[in-house]
């Protein structure tokens, strides 16, 4: 069954919910767009969510 989403103009699709996708989605909303963030896994976060720390400052990654 196909359900049509009758979203008005001004929407953008971001494919991938990792750090790049999430950042793109956030910036797009700041620029006035509505964003569909499409992620094939059950939760967004991608590989970044698996990292404990980040280089070179070893900050927490989440």
């Amino acid at each position: 069954m196909t359900k049509a989403m009758t979203k008005k103009a001004g929407a953008v699709m971001v494919v991938g919910g990792g750090v790049a996708g999430v950042q793109a989605a956030l910036d797009l909303t700041e620029l006035g767009y509505y964003v569909y963030l499409v992620e094939k896994a059950a939760a967004i976060g991608g590989a970044m969510a698996m990292l404990d720390k980040t280089f070179p400052t070893n900050d927490c990654s989440l």
Binding site: G10, G16, A20, G21, D27, T29, G32
Partner: protein, 948 residues
């Protein structure tokens, strides 16, 4: 991430496949399929009861298969969306029609096995592809005994082993016998720079994460011996070489060698390797970590097919040097690792840039689909209202609770004045915890919230947002830092850390009793931009801003646009520079939204975000001045090739026989007969990485390879020798490095203990160096000596003073935050990109300029900026008009005015106020109050400090 989960303008479609894109830019239709979670997202409370009851075990993919979970589960507690899901491939009911224990275990009645896959069509104007990266094939790991021996792990598995939320809760143990390893080896370039698995490129991140993981492992196990086997350490980013030096100082060993194989050897692993001189050695290790590269995503071909764009030879998205984020399908942009392997900050920069490009592409539809978030009416609070404080003490997994006795701290606040509710929270920043917070505020009618968790510097905005959602003024929160400034720094003193936490919480509660709601303030923004610098960065930024619809002034001090890229001739990929640059300049000159000022300098810049006023002065004629009012400013003042007078301790005289890489490039692009002579020696890091400049210039290795290939193309007989320290042809540039080697270019490494000796003056340059392969000194008199001299920023001293921002020790501008805000300057409304930011290749400059333009457009799109409520305010009746505050304010944020009785009074210029409080501390009559930091509040904290 949580931010994305909360935004009313982001619809997260997880468990969803993208099937097909049709239509055209501005009017695409995307077909999607949402797979069932079998759990009603709205009902699931993420309590975890179902996982406890689920009878079946399942290997936990989130923990890289190192732990077990159940078919019904959530990957990690902070997941967004924070609801559980059922893996249909493992669930007993979905596979075999049995079980269904979870249905009765779930008290929220959220489990719904009737859910069906659902297809939907979305109308979208543009698409950003950010599917990330995939895994390198297991076949590339075979020769290292991966899969055959449990103590050979990938770097990602090792990451999970080190992580507090990982399978051993952060303890470093061997998988074979649960013993602490005594020594450990990292093998670099596994599945990268390896044609054996068709991954000829460099993954650009493995050197960094290996150093990081080695350092973290060393922190966990100070006694452990760690060796990193590498070919080139490609730590070219800002501050990366310094991190490598820190790792070396910690005792981590770096060995330049190729590892042939890893074999089980007793209860250890035998690692065989060959060093640069061709000798073979072996060494035994308790554990081996494979630094696996980033492969293209498994569904890359599918995605490309569905959306109609092309892939490159390695199955990543195909783009070009001058349009790095544009896929071959118009309206489909790419960002992150799918564009090419890269690290997090660079991915994030690309994402911002892609957002800006979308904004330019579909500007006519901007705002049409935008949902303005509404908050419940703010609960009015008067001084007479009873103080009702809720205290939430966070475990932060084991980050806090592993040291601090959290239940004890929680119990401690019981009965304190004003505290009507207190509770513990596993991760107070998670989405479900925000829901709990909202609920508790309502349930207990809380009007102040104390969160004892991490730093307000990172997490206060999140909690403030939740307060607004709960109908409270966002300033009615006080965060107590018991993680960054307590559990993390007193890891070995749990009792003392607990007692410190109690003190800090008591002081926080004391302050909370006195916190008051503060009004939200906004400042209007002039919707114009100023871009400083007319090189590739400035041109790109100006064009993007103009295409997004904003009037932009572009200021260039030289007579011509184009900057130092005018001196370049061709790119590593062989693209011609001049034509593209000219096209860009023409576009900028013709654009109706851009006003170009050449031969012009900025002489003054006043104002603040949204309301800048700049004075420009022509460098020609009478030096005509003009004033520009603008809301934002982008700094793109560029850089140029360095020209050191001394290289590797030898004085240099540039001549026809001693040239820089840029000079060589120009010569090779020319027509002179002898432009590619018979013998050429190139010296890398001739000025960079501690020779003269402290940093890696990031371009010179690519330039050397590019020019070496050109020489070979013109004169295949020419002998080209490149003397280098680490050859940093990261990403796809590795292909050209390999090609150069195939064509006979000799790459010979040197170390800083044994530098090449140069006679780099006059007509007969000479080079002497040690050849590790021949194991002897070699002396040459090449026809041409080429110095890879690196990059320096153009004058940043004057402008940094005008802008009141700082530069780092290398004279590049200091960004607001290296990872989170890489293109923003610390002054609000000011952005930086290109070589003024850091040395980088042209492709990265373009992305960064697009990102800066995207970020700069945000206040222009909004039309206003919000000001933090923590600014000063002057009690007009108490002010005696002495003017001390105006004189002391470092930001010109207080000015004197006359009131209705013609008395001198001070007033705050809200948009300029940084909330420092110098005025309040000096006001002789205590007429100035600092939002969120009043005398009353601070005094209450000090008093509470005394009540131990």
């Amino acid at each position: 991430m949580v931010e994305a989960g909360r935004s009313p303008n982001i619809k997260i479609l997880s468990n969803t496949d993208f099937l097909k894109l049709s239509g055209k830019p501005g009017d695409f239709t995307a077909k999607l399929r949402v797979r069932p979670r079998y759990i009603d997202h709205d009902k699931c409370t993420a309590c975890g009861m179902c996982t406890q009851y689920c009878p079946r075990h399942l290997v936990d993919g989130y923990n890289e298969g190192l732990a077990l979970t159940r078919p019904i589960h959530i990957d990690y507690p902070q997941a967004v969306p924070a609801s559980y899901f059922i893996d249909p491939e493992a669930c007993l009911h979905l596979k075999h029609g049995t079980c269904k224990i979870c249905v009765s275990a779930c008290q929220a009645r959220a489990i719904d096995f009737d859910q069906q896959p659902e297809e939907m069509d979305l109308k979208v104007g543009a698409v950003v592809m950010a599917p990330g990266f995939g895994r390198v094939p297991d076949s590339a790991l075979d020769k290292y005994s991966y899969g055959k021996h449990p103590d050979v792990v990938t770097s990602l598995e090792f990451e999970r082993l080190l992580c507090a939320s990982g399978p051993f809760e952060g303890e470093l143990l061997r998988l074979s016998d649960r013993q602490h390893p005594k020594n450990l080896a990292f093998i670099q370039c596994v599945g990268s720079r390896d044609l054996g698995c068709d991954n000829g490129y460099c993954s650009s991140v493995c050197c960094m994460y290996a150093i990081k993981e080695a350092m973290v492992a060393k922190e966990h196990e100070p006694e452990i011996a760690i060796t990193i086997y590498y070919m080139d350490m490609r730590t070219q980013g800002k501050g990366f070489d310094a991190a490598r030096a820190r790792a070396e100082a910690m005792g981590i060993k770096f060995v330049r060698a190729r590892v042939a194989d890893v074999m089980p050897w007793g209860n250890q692993l035998k690692l065989t390797f060959a060093t640069m001189d061709g000798s073979h050695y072996f060494e035994a290790y308790d554990m081996v970590v494979l630094s696996v590269g980033l492969d293209s995503p498994a569904d890359a071909a599918n995605l490309a097919d569905s959306a109609g764009f092309a892939l490159n030879d390695y199955n990543f998205c195909r783009t070009s040097t001058f349009a790095p984020l544009q896929s071959s399908q118009e309206g489909v942009l790419v960002a992150g690792a799918f564009q090419g392997p890269k690290d997090i900050p660079e991915s994030v920069t690309q994402s911002s840039a892609a957002a800006g490009l979308v904004s330019a592409l579909t500007k006519k539809d901007r705002g049409k689909g935008y949902v303005v978030k509404s908050y419940p009416d703010e609960q009015q609070l008067t001084d007479d209202d009873e103080v009702r404080i809720g205290v939430f003490v966070c475990h932060c997994g084991v980050n806090i609770a592993g040291v601090v006795d959290v239940p004890d701290v929680d119990q401690y606040v019981e009965g304190m004045e004003g505290v009507v509710y207190h509770a513990q929270s596993l991760y107070s920043c998670s989405q479900d915890a925000q829901e709990v917070l909202k609920q508790k505020i309502k349930e207990h009618n809380l009007n102040r919230v104390v969160i004892a968790a991490c730093s307000p510097r990172t997490h206060e905005p999140l909690f403030q947002e939740t307060l607004k959602d709960a109908g409270l003024n966002r300033c009615l929160i006080e965060m107590v830092n018991i993680r960054d400034q307590c559990s993390w720094v007193h890891a070995n003193e749990p009792a003392a850390a607990t007692s410190k936490s109690k003190d800090l919480v008591r002081m926080g509660i004391a302050k909370a009793r006195h916190i008051k709601p503060l009004p939200e303030q906004t400042v209007p923004v002039i919707d114009k931009a100023l871009v400083l610098g007319g090189g590739i960065a400035g041109l790109t930024a100006a064009l993007n801003l103009a295409e997004q619809g904003y009037a932009t002034a572009l200021v260039e001090k030289e007579a011509q646009l184009g900057g130092h890229l005018q001196e370049a001739r061709y790119t590593l990929r062989g693209e011609e520079v001049a034509k593209t640059l000219k096209g860009l300049i023409d576009q900028v000159n013709k654009h109706k939204n851009i006003k170009v000022f050449t031969d012009t300098e900025l002489v003054q810049l006043n104002g603040y975000v949204g309301n800048f006023s700049s004075q420009l002065k022509s460098r020609k004629g009478k030096g005509q001045e003009s004033t520009i009012d603008h809301g934002v400013v982008v700094v793109a003042t560029g850089g140029r090739e360095h020209r050191p007078e001394k290289v590797l301790d030898s004085p240099v005289k540039y001549s026809a026989k001693v040239v820089t890489q840029r000079e060589l490039e120009q010569r090779l692009a020319g027509k002179a007969k002898n432009r590619a002579p018979g013998s050429v020696v190139m010296i890398q890091c001739a000025g960079s990485r501690g020779d003269d400049l402290g940093y890696c210039s990031k371009n010179c290795c690519n330039d050397a390879v590019k020019n070496a290939l050109k020489i070979k193309e013109i004169n295949p007989e020419s002998q080209v020798i490149v003397l280098y320290r680490d050859l940093r042809t990261y990403g796809y540039a590795e292909d050209y490095y390999r090609r150069a080697r195939e064509q006979g270019v000799l790459f010979i490494p040197y170390s800083m203990d044994n530098k090449p000796r140069l006679t780099a003056g006059g007509k007969a340059p000479k080079v002497g160096f040690y050849d590790p392969l021949l194991r002897e000194e070699v002396n040459l008199s090449p026809d041409l000596l080429v110095l890879s001299t690196g990059i320096v920023p153009d004058d940043t001293a004057t402008l940094s003073r005008l802008l009141k921002v700082s530069v780092n020790e290398d004279k590049f501008y200091l960004e607001a935050h290296v990872k989170l805000r890489p293109v923003e300057l610390p002054v609000s409304g000011a952005y930086v990109c290109g070589l003024a930011h850091s040395p980088q290749p042209v492709e990265e400059i373009i992305v960064q300029a697009q990102a800066a333009a995207a970020k700069a457009a945000i206040p222009l799109v909004k039309g206003y900026v919000s000001v933090e409520p923590t600014v000063s305010s002057v009690d007009q009746s108490a002010c005696i008009g002495c003017g001390l505050c105006e004189a002391l304010c470092p930001y010109q944020a207080i000015r004197m005015h006359k009131d209705e009785n013609n008395k001198r009074k001070a007033e705050t210029v809200t948009a300029s106020c940084k909330g420092c409080g110098i005025c309040a501390a000096h006001c002789p009559v205590f007429a100035i109050s600092m939002g969120g930091f009043t005398d009353e509040q601070i005094t209450a904290q000090i008093t509470a400090f005394g009540q131990q």
